[in-house]
């Protein structure tokens, strides 16, 4: 079994193999041709190779975790946030050439391709079956002190490159292809499994590129979330002729018995509430507010929800009431916690208002975001992008989250406003989607949204067969 990893740089569409044959088999560069484009003839060889005994492998990026608390007030600390910084990594390399000029040429070539300004140089490492690709943002190639006195045409240097913390893949994995999502009701579900995903960060979240095509041109806002669970609780309760003014209100029937036990065992999850109201009278004079109630006891107010003044649409509106950690329920005693969502209707100024609470939708979610951008036709698309391949070779996370509107031919229309965290893929997660018209929250629950979702798996080091 071969143990050496195949390592090469990709620059300008050309492969430059760094894993040539080790001494004494390493091929000398004689000043002509492009022998580095084939591994077996490359004059470059990593210092750590199968002959020297320690095969070079990319270092995994160290986790940078922020902690809170600690001594002297308590033992230990609580992790708050984890992210990864880029890697600055020294890699020994040797070059074989027939003359000093040829050796200097090899050195100069390395420096040039590692510091491409047009696009990042890509580091490709094939360990096992599959290849991982890293972006190199820059490198220094200092020669070792023994450079000019090496015997037998071998010249040594050290590459100090700065590269991306994670490696990507050459093509995205399609998780959902032209999948028809419902908008809350009807024949199509609005939450669909992303299926099995690959990559090293399956529990930490990996970038998704998602394309939404809502069936109605009126929809300019999409809500998207990666969720563990989505529960729709039908309420179908009408409050008519309400003239109460906040903080007084008339309560809708509660959406109760919502199981949130998964919160106890998954600290990544939060609880989100959305509500659909229909058959509205004077909606611009109506306010909806309420609580997430732990005990389903009348009058108990555990987690207050924001006060939402409704839009102008009288047919139906979907409103987002925010996300909450419900940390109080994350304890050993409440093994099967369930909550109730209790909503109230008020008038802003005493004008009579009427509304029917159709249903309450609750999510146990990892990431939730909305993207808002006006569409010109019903075939216009809204994108949420978490991955890019501007380097020309592999998909890696975007530097900033991107969202925009395009035509059906992917011609740019306009930038979309992002709120929240673009959904990332997690093992076992599903994708939740909803669409509304942002000007008045208009929502038709039997409409559909066509969704394409593609995953950019990320790896901390070599992939093997994964």
């Amino acid at each position: 079994m071969g143990t050496k990893n195949t390592v090469y740089l990709i620059a300008g569409g050309t492969n430059y193999y760094l894993s040539g044959q080790a001494t004494p088999s390493q091929v000398k560069y004689a000043g002509s041709g492009t022998p580095w484009t084939v591994e077996s003839t490359s004059p470059y060889e990593l210092a750590n190779n199968d002959v020297t005994g320690s095969v070079w492998v990319p270092e995994p990026a160290p986790r940078q975790t922020l902690y809170s608390g600690g001594p002297p007030f308590r033992n230990g600390r609580t992790p708050i946030s984890t992210a990864y910084d880029h890697i600055v990594e020294p890699v020994g390399i040797q070059m074989k050439a027939t003359t000093k000029d040829n050796a200097i040429f090899l050195l100069r070539q390395l420096d040039q391709i590692l510091n491409l300004s047009s696009a990042p140089c890509i580091l490709a490492v094939q360990g096992g079956t599959n290849t991982t690709y890293y972006e190199i943002s820059g490198a220094d190639v200092p020669v070792l002190p023994t450079y000019l006195s090496e015997p037998d045409g071998v010249f040594r240097a050290t590459i100090n490159w700065t590269r991306s913390p994670h490696g990507g893949v050459s093509s995205l994995t399609t998780l959902l292809s032209s999948s028809t999502f419902g908008n809350g009701s009807g024949a199509n579900a609005n939450t669909k499994s992303l299926g099995a995903i690959t990559g090293d960060l399956i529990y930490e979240g990996m970038p998704l590129n998602i394309r939404f095509t809502p069936s109605s041109v009126a929809y300019d806002r999409v809500y998207a979330a990666t969720v563990s669970e989505r529960v729709k609780t039908s309420v179908s309760d009408t409050i008519a002729g309400d003239t109460s003014i906040y903080p007084v209100g008339v309560q809708f029937l509660a959406a109760s018995g919502i199981d949130v036990s998964t919160l106890r065992t998954d600290t990544r999850l939060r609880f989100r509430v959305l509500a659909r109201l229909k058959t509205l009278t004077n909606p611009t004079k109506a306010r909806v507010w309420g609580y997430v109630n732990y005990a389903n006891i009348l009058g108990q107010t555990d987690v207050p929800l924001p006060i939402v003044t409704l839009g102008a649409n009288t047919a139906a509106q979907l409103i987002d009431l925010g996300g909450y950690p419900l940390d109080t329920l994350r304890n050993v005693i409440m093994t099967a916690p369930a909550v109730a969502v209790v909503l109230y209707l008020s008038s802003t100024d005493g004008t009579s208002v009427t509304a029917t609470l159709d249903y309450v939708e609750t999510l146990l979610y990892y990431d939730f975001a909305s993207a808002t951008g006006a569409r010109s036709t019903s075939t216009d698309r809204i994108y949420m992008l978490g991955a890019q391949n501007l380097n020309g070779a592999a998909y890696l996370p975007t530097q900033t989250p991107q969202s925009f509107v395009t035509s059906s031919a992917d011609v740019w229309r306009k930038m979309a406003l992002i709120r929240g965290t673009l959904p990332r893929a997690y093992s076992g997660a599903s994708l939740y989607v909803a669409a509304v018209r942002s000007s008045d929250n208009n929502h038709t629950d039997t409409d559909t949204i066509t969704v394409n979702a593609q995953l950019a798996p990320l790896y901390r080091t070599i992939r093997g067969g994964g």
């Binding site: 608390g69 007030f73 708050i80 306010r287 003044t309 939730f368 930038m415």
Partner: protein, 379 residues
């Protein structure tokens, strides 16, 4: 990862509706800090990022007065305001542009030789007003003649009509530095100090009602001049205190509003400010019921919790709350004392996020913090 997005919008004098989205700064920030105060609401937001020279010049020249909404990881609005100053560091050269000190509508008060008080007509630069909104300046020049007062007015307008540019140059040895941008946004509340007004009515009206009148887009409202704020009265309480509607000449809207609300509700002080969707909120201060705790912490834990022990993220913390440290609670705290050993009224919050720390500072009333005194921008 902390995906805070600072969305920047083109300037639009159309009430509470943001203009065209021109930039999402998510993922680009090196540091983020915002402050929110119990008097004023969203107060300041400062963020830094490394940019190209071209982009820094674009921000310096074209972006003042752009609207900004900062969103937290849960898609919630955590801060909202406008770009008040831009500072760009080009190595050892620094350039900054600021709206502070700018005025595009000027009048001059003077005393005639006969001892009569007089005032010139206003002079305006309508192009700057269309670009940034109206920002008033009233000068007093003592005893003079009308022509001189008018000349003074016109010179002042010419001098102050543009944003103030401040260059700094240091030619020295050492690192030259990189191209770094510091964006400082101010809360919309500060724009209430931009426009002066006057009112001759001597009717006595509830102070909450008067505040609602002063933010309208017509009549006595500031929106008739600068249509920046929402006109909703939904979050303005009726204070129960009636005061005169009279507004003396050269009084800013902010001065009048603070004069009205500074009288409280007859029993307690009030907290007020401009918050999400540029809406004015006026409510009784949380110190009126000091035992109703909103935030708490444990000394062994570096996080903030609500009264139900749910974690409150630093960017979600708000002023006008009661805060306590659970470990410092004594056996019998006074029920009517806002500030005790274990608890105090939160007058101001400062949320800071950087590559090595995430946190929020809760400041009590009567804070002596220098940045609290300096944070009121655009006045």
């Amino acid at each position: 990862m902390i995906p805070i997005n600072v969305a920047v919008f083109a300037f639009a004098a159309t009430g509470a509706t943001p203009g065209t989205l021109i930039a999402n700064l998510a993922g680009r920030l090196d540091t983020y800090e915002h402050t929110i105060s119990a008097v004023g609401g969203f107060e300041s937001l400062t963020c830094t990022l490394v940019v190209s020279f071209e982009e820094a010049i674009d921000w310096l020249n074209n972006r003042l007065m752009c609207g900004c909404i900062a969103y937290g990881p849960d898609a919630q609005i955590i801060w909202e305001g406008y770009l008040a100053s831009v500072e760009a560091q080009f190595g050892q050269e620094q350039r900054s542009a600021s709206l502070e000190g700018m005025s595009n509508r000027v009048r001059v008060r003077y005393t005639t030789v006969l001892g009569t008080q007089a005032v010139t007509a206003t002079a305006s630069d309508t192009a700057r007003q269309a670009r940034y909104g109206v920002k008033d300046l009233v000068l007093s020049v003592g005893e003079t003649v009308s022509a001189v007062a008018i000349n003074t007015r016109d010179r002042a307008l010419a001098q102050y009509k543009n944003p103030v540019m401040t260059p700094t140059t240091q030619i020295a040895t050492g690192d030259l530095g990189d191209a770094r941008l510091t964006l400082t946004f101010a809360g919309w509340y500060t724009t209430l100090g931009w426009v002066i007004t006057a009112r001759t009515s001597t009717s006595n009206t509830d102070t909450g009602t008067q505040v609602g009148d002063l933010i309208q887009a017509s009549g006595v409202g500031i929106g008739a001049t600068n249509n920046f704020l929402a006109t909703s009265r939904l979050s303005i309480i009726t204070t129960g205190v009636a005061d005169t509607e009279l507004i003396a000449a050269d009084t800013t809207y902010q001065q009048k509003i603070e004069s009205l609300l500074g009288k409280g509700n007859g029993t307690d002080r009030l907290a007020w400010g401009i918050y999400e969707d540029r809406a004015m909120h006026v409510e009784v201060w949380a110190g009126a019921t000091p035992t109703d705790i909103h935030y708490q912490r444990y000394l062994g834990d570096g996080r903030l919790y609500d009264a139900s022990d749910n974690v409150v993220q630093p960017w979600d913390a708000r002023p006008n709350r009661m805060y306590q440290v659970v470990d410092l609670l004594d056996a019998g705290p006074a029920s009517d004392t806002p500030d005790a050993a274990a608890r105090f009224f939160v007058e101001r919050v400062v949320c800071s996020v950087s590559n090595d720390s995430i946190g929020v500072a809760l400041e009590p009333a009567n804070t002596n913090a220098l940045d609290a005194l300096l944070a009121r921008l655009g006045g």
